[in-house]
Point group: C2
Chain length 358, copies 2
Amino acid sequence: MRKHNFNAGPSVLPEFTLEQTAKAVLDLNGIGMSILEISHRSKEFEAILAETKALFKELLNVPDGYSILFLGGGASLQFCMVPFNLMNKKSAYLNSGSWASKAIKEAKFFGEVVEVASSKNDNYTYIPKNYSIPEDADYFHITTNNTIYGTELKKDMDVKIPLIADASSDIFSRPMDVSKYGLIYGGVQKNLGPSGIAFVVIKNDILGKVQRPIPTMLDYKTHIENDSLYNTPSTFAIYACLQTLKWIKSIGGVNTIHKMNVEKAQMLYDEIDRNKLFKGTVTVAEDRSIMNVCFVLNEEFKDMESEFLDIAKVKGFVGIKGHRSVGGFRASIYNALPKASIVALVDAMKEFEKAKIK
Amino acid sequence: MRKHNFNAGPSVLPEFTLEQTAKAVLDLNGIGMSILEISHRSKEFEAILAETKALFKELLNVPDGYSILFLGGGASLQFCMVPFNLMNKKSAYLNSGSWASKAIKEAKFFGEVVEVASSKNDNYTYIPKNYSIPEDADYFHITTNNTIYGTELKKDMDVKIPLIADASSDIFSRPMDVSKYGLIYGGVQKNLGPSGIAFVVIKNDILGKVQRPIPTMLDYKTHIENDSLYNTPSTFAIYACLQTLKWIKSIGGVNTIHKMNVEKAQMLYDEIDRNKLFKGTVTVAEDRSIMNVCFVLNEEFKDMESEFLDIAKVKGFVGIKGHRSVGGFRASIYNALPKASIVALVDAMKEFEKAKIK
């Protein structure tokens, strides 16, 4: 029986993706070879890559003039590729969580980093607002969803310099106005596929403005010119992403997924707010993520934490323990998490309240 | 029906690997989640990683004092990570093929590169010999097997400075004396698993000798200290490698595999040498690779190339067309290629000869 998978990533994927990829691992469309055994330069894989990019473009409504890349190394490698390629002397970052903070650390290898605002002193319980962005910076970097702290920057911002977004944990969870971004990147292991690769959506004309020499594999131009095939990409991961994109399309596209996500998140936040045992950790309501829901037990019930985790285990909930930086609980409720898993969690919270508060 | 898969990489994998990974994509050992859906920090994945490393160490006989890493980005990213981490001002490279040449190109971003010898002017038809290695270089880099040109450096060399080897296409095909190397790396997509990651076997004490700042993801120390879990690795690719390592062990280990490889290669080279239509492209017999067998039609039969490729197609041979740099044919005959595929190819060559030379 399938678990209720609240993992933060790698995380739950559509059963369609699992079934299709498992089949392809044995034999890709009856060609007598596995998806793992075909050349990245074969006509079969070229068709897979082309379809993946086309669906990505269609579903996220990516304008012309952007390239869509699938690169090895995950989002963490992008933390250094972004400044390597885009920062001459100065860049601006919003510090909204641990991952933003890691991105900032890497940018500092390449020059001056202006941290325009930070919610670090409040343990990242909200997204900083009302800051100014230096117009002489080469770009402004944001993290659209903070997986660990459960906050989300849901609006596509208007910024005068190129806007760069790490959208690892909310890509394809909501419609985005891609035209407002210079570059959007992320690991695919939350809403798209298996871990190990990053997607990069890059506006071609933001490149070519830095002076430093860039090693070939770290240069976005290499991958644009070679259509992600300069070296052997993770052919399996790309195939799995394609299946998930097909699944997103089959249920109605990103707008539909977004409605479902909002409904799922609302059900869970409503219960957190209603239930006398629990409270949310995000202090500003509009910043609550629809992907990662962080909550803790109220002070007087704190000692019941491991008890609720034990119940969760019995009920088949996986990944519900909060990150050590926040404590308590975290339910990651990505696109592929069925509503039934939210219902099960909400029911368990209600039951727990009944048992504890007579 | 399974094809005779002579692909250069991604390439044929053991059926055991395909069956086990397909099962795990649906449900990993009955835990109610796919291998694609579990956290890289879960106890399940920790056990997978530990077992993969232990088997790798056991089968390749890796001495203590070395770390075994699985990193994103493939061997091409290692081309720049090696000099980033190990080269202060000067390094030495043997230019034995296209991949060696690409590695040299990346090293030049970091300082002076001494090309100790090159067979480029002879289209890499042999491995250069009788050169001297500058002892003031920080390391000496070789490519143990040249996938495109079908040459192989089969001896573990004694070198006074750290020896670095790209062993992408012959790792686990023969026993290696790892103690003679400072670092061995390679993409896993030939003899181990799916494309997308690189293995790195690194002697810990060769690190810490360069002055330059290294971005976190490009620093081997990061990955050693975090046991390949600094960022989310390709959990699926590592799981697939584990299955192949189990398969290698089950058939008797690397010595057994090596005997099988030598026998398979010999059968094919014998036919190439015997058959009046064909000839091998490697000019020095001892340099002939046991992994990639390159051959062409003799001058007077050159116009029959596409005819033989058509026959190959009908017979279910995949990937037999030679790389454009060499032309003719290339049979990549990695560990997992069954002897039956060699027999089929040899038979086809004999038949073709009979049809053409009355």
